[in-house]
């Protein structure tokens, strides 16, 4: 009975891990390139408002739009904490 009420089966864990793993595998975006994108975004946004560049995060995730082979197409997410809206 315990098994029935367990929060997540190992099957679900495997499936969830794979889905995330394959998104980054398929995009084949190197960490160096991600870092360069991050710095460029930070520079552009900084022109208009004060942001916390130490705590900003960017990552590639999936969206609702259709992509190749049934998978959803990847999307770039950016979380940029704003320190002050008016520079």
């Amino acid at each position: 009975m315990r098994r029935l009420f367990r929060r997540k089966s190992s099957r679900e864990v495997a499936k969830d891990r794979l889905k995330i793993l394959l998104i980054s595998d398929r995009v084949s975006c190197s960490p160096e390139m991600m870092e360069m994108i991050k710095q460029d975004i930070a520079r552009v946004i900084s022109k208009y408002m004060k942001i916390d560049t130490d705590h900003m995060e960017i990552q590639i995730g999936k969206t609702g739009a259709g992509g190749g082979r049934g998978m959803k197409s990847p999307m770039l997410y950016a979380n940029i904490p704003i320190v002050d809206l008016h520079k």
Binding site: R3, R11, A14, R17, L21, D25
Partner: protein, 263 residues
């Protein structure tokens, strides 16, 4: 019109060679002329799985280098009329053959065979490039494990980039009992993730080990894996074949346990 099929997986040890041996033998049992080619230079194994290791005189590298004629390197399987094996070289490495040379050998073989099955080495290096060079379609073998599925996904991407239109998935070593408990990804989970057509589900079956020990592929026998491989062959010939019963019992149990989980 002959068809050239490469059996590939990316990850090692998921059952490429076993699948090649069984699919090749099964197609021969269904009356087709089949040539199996072991493209794993330096680590050949298809000959032992087929039980033909004692009859090797010439190999693929000898053919490519012109040391013998193609016919001399082909080993006839006496148990199955129409089935031949071209073994790989054991004392050479992958660089002994180029993709262009593979294409040439395959073009010659196409004249005499209905099906040419290429057993691909693990990895994505030159051995893989050699194996896929002359192929029209691919059988991608995976097991329901994270590492094997990840590698299969990479392989599918590479096959797509190489212009492959037909790729079919074989899920090997599925353990119904574990799927039922929620401790193994089901066939439909794997198909969801990899998103290519499913052509076979082969259950984890100890008879595979026994048949490998004996050097005789179990396709066509009553063993669960033997029946599963025979069905793969039927589907390759375009014959509609329902998936084996254990699939149905899974979905039934998944539903039951799903209801309990919701409650």
């Amino acid at each position: 019109m002959s068809e050239v099929i490469v059996v590939t997986s990316g990850k090692g040890g998921v059952g490429k060679t076993t699948t090649s041996a069984n699919v090749g033998t099964g197609l021969a049992k269904l009356g087709k002329k089949v040539c199996l080619i072991d493209t794993d230079i330096g680590l050949r194994n298809l000959d032992v799985v087929m039980g033909l290791e004692n009859r090797i005189v010439y190999n693929l590298v000898d053919v490519v280098e012109g040391s013998c004629r193609i016919k001399q390197a082909l080993i006839r399987d006496k148990r199955n009329p129409g089935l031949y094996l071209m073994p790989s070289a054991q004392t050479r490495d992958k660089s002994a053959v180029t993709p262009g040379q593979m294409v040439k050998v395959i073009e010659h073989l196409k004249e005499q065979f209905d099906y040419i099955i290429l057993d691909c080495p693990a990895g994505i290096e030159q051995g893989f490039q050699n194996a896929i060079a002359g192929a029209d379609r691919a059988l991608v073998v995976t097991t329901p494990e994270v590492s094997a599925i990840r590698d299969a996904d990479r392989i599918i991407g590479l096959l797509e980039a190489n212009g492959f239109k037909r790729m079919d998935l074989i899920i090997n070593r599925l353990r119904t009992e574990m799927v039922r408990r929620g401790d193994m990804m089901s066939a439909s989970d794997v198909v969801d993730i990899l998103a290519i057509p499913l052509i076979g589900i082969v259950p984890d079956d100890e008879n595979v080990v026994i048949s490998t020990n004996q050097g005789e592929p179990l396709v066509g026998s009553d063993a669960p894996a033997g029946r599963a491989y025979f069905n793969v062959c039927q589907r390759l010939l375009g014959r509609e074949t329902p998936f084996l019963n254990f699939e149905k019992s899974i979905s039934f149990w998944m539903k039951v346990s799903g209801i309990f989980r919701k409650v």
